[in-house]
């Protein structure tokens, strides 16, 4: 125990922490999927300029991006149950708020945060598509939805991929904040090990290494997805 870094201990905690990867990635992937759906909804609401809703969407994007992730998580974790309790009392329904696991609140919070960014990512992506594409779709008799789904969406997704990769890598790291609302994920587990063994350096080296590994993996995955989607651009310099 006298050496600064004990290689056996390093290995031991590495194996221990591997078990928390599913929680971290589960949080990140679930939130990403939900945030993408949310972002797509917001995008369409704003594109179609639906009254009232589009104003609300704008407000959401404003707040979602302005608030620190941790504050959003705290609001969801502490304020949402209270709001639900009041709602339950008023309507006489029974909602067992205590039985909802913390991880659900974490997913909700991370989704709200990421969704706001993705809304803007999608907007940029759609704007990158030449407006003549939609005009061409209209000119052959397509509806807005047909043109959006079959033409604009496909072209915009290529543009959006690198930005979504960015957002996802950010999200993986943001999941460490979920520990603050008692979710036992990678960073949380690492902190517990630190406290148990009183050894900080090894644990943080290992945990940093694991985050790095996950990021590299997903960077590559997104790159593959981008190339798959961009099949129609082969040979062009874009």
């Amino acid at each position: 125990m006298n050496s600064i870094i004990d290689p056996y201990f390093l290995m031991e905690i590495f194996l221990k922490l591997l078990g928390y990867i599913p929680m971290t990635l589960g949080l990140a992937i679930t939130s990403m999927v939900l945030a993408s759906i949310l972002g797509l909804f917001m995008l369409i609401i704003r594109m179609k300029k639906i009254p009232v809703l589009s104003k609300l969407a704008e407000l959401y994007v404003l707040f979602g991006r302005a608030l620190p992730t941790m504050i959003i998580l705290y609001i969801v974790f502490f304020a949402l149950p209270i709001a639900l309790m009041i709602f339950a009392e008023k309507t006489g329904q029974k909602i067992e708020i205590n039985q909802v696991p913390a991880v659900v609140f974490a997913v909700i919070g991370l989704t709200i945060h990421t969704g706001a960014y993705l809304t803007e990512v999608f907007r940029a992506a759609v704007q990158s598509v030449d407006k003549g594409q939609m005009e061409a779709a209209y000119s052959i008799g397509m509806t807005w939805w047909q043109g959006f789904y079959r033409i604009i969406f496909r072209q915009a997704s290529v543009f959006a991929m690198p930005l979504m990769a960015n957002q996802f890598l950010n999200l993986i790291k943001s999941t460490s904040i979920a520990f603050m609302i008692t979710v036992m994920e990678l960073f949380g587990a690492a902190n517990v090990i630190c406290a148990d063994n009183n050894r900080y350096l090894e644990v943080y080296i290992v945990v940093a290494f694991i985050y790095w590994g996950m990021s590299v993996l997903f960077e590559k995955l997104f790159l593959v997805a981008e190339h798959k989607l961009a099949v129609f651009k082969k040979g062009s310099n874009l």
Binding site: Y138, M142, Q146, S236
Partner: protein, 251 residues
């Protein structure tokens, strides 16, 4: 037959169309000429509501549209009965040449994929690009892209094809091939063509009817012989004198 009645359109304070009245007979080739900013493209785009005119009526055979009270349904219907060829081609970038033509057939005309493909191949051959079916837009030259654009419009068997300066973005060497295809379909296909262009040679040779616009109004219209050969209006004379000398191509 397409009829415009008192079409008005402003962009802010700038009144681009100041009450257009005109009609285009079924099966004819009508060429709209005029200097830049005369409103000819706006007029063309107001037919399929890519630009919504402020007031007036657009009548396509049995479809009467009062622009001010137009419904989504009416816009959709007139778009299904017309097709457009764009100045910047606007081929769907995520589709091959063949898929560009099939797209409208499958999605709008609701015919089967196999049948659409067969049909698309025929039209691609018609514009002389039978071997380019699997190429994406960026792999084709401007002239080839525009010919695919024409095939895409033709395949839908529309009542009217709207040509919005189809050769303006092409370099001079490629203009000929596109005009040739347009001339060919004017002769072979019995569909109304409205062509906004600066190609006076094309107007003279192919058009049945020529409309000359300036400053948001129709200055003069008639057969090519009348308008181009013996213009009556001073503005038309002036325009033609400046134009004919250096923009004529042999087709």
């Amino acid at each position: 037959m397409i009829t415009f009645k008192n079409i008005h359109k402003s962009f802010g304070d700038n009144e681009v169309l100041k009450g257009i009245n005109a009609s285009v007979p079924t099966g004819s080739v009508t060429v709209i000429l005029g200097p830049s900013g005369s409103g000819k493209t706006t007029l063309l785009r107001s037919i399929n509501f890519l630009e919504k005119a402020d007031r007036g009526e657009i009548i396509l055979d049995d479809l009467h549209i009062d622009v001010e009270k137009v419904t989504k349904q009416e816009i959709h219907e007139i778009r299904q009965r017309t097709a457009m060829v764009f100045q910047s081609y606007n081929l769907f970038k995520n589709k091959t040449a063949l898929e560009n033509i099939m797209e409208g057939l499958i999605v709008v005309k609701k015919i089967s994929k196999a049948e659409a493909k067969e049909k698309a191949i025929i039209f691609l051959e018609k514009v002389g690009l039978g071997s380019k079916g699997d190429f994406y837009a960026h792999q084709l030259s401007g002239g080839q892209q525009q010919r695919v654009g024409i095939a895409r419009a033709l395949a839908l068997n529309p009542d009217v094809i709207l040509f919005d300066e189809p050769t303006s973005a092409l370099d001079p060497e490629l203009v000929g091939e596109v005009l040739e295809v347009m001339k060919k379909i004017a002769q072979e296909v019995n569909c109304t063509m409205i062509v906004v262009t600066h190609e006076i040679g094309f107007a003279r040779e192919v058009a049945d009817h020529v409309i000359f616009m300036d400053g948001g109004v129709i200055v003069e219209e008639g057969t090519p012989e009348q308008v181009l050969g013996a213009p009556k209006n001073e503005r038309t004379k002036q325009f033609l004198a400046r134009y004919v000398s250096f923009t004529e191509y042999n087709i």
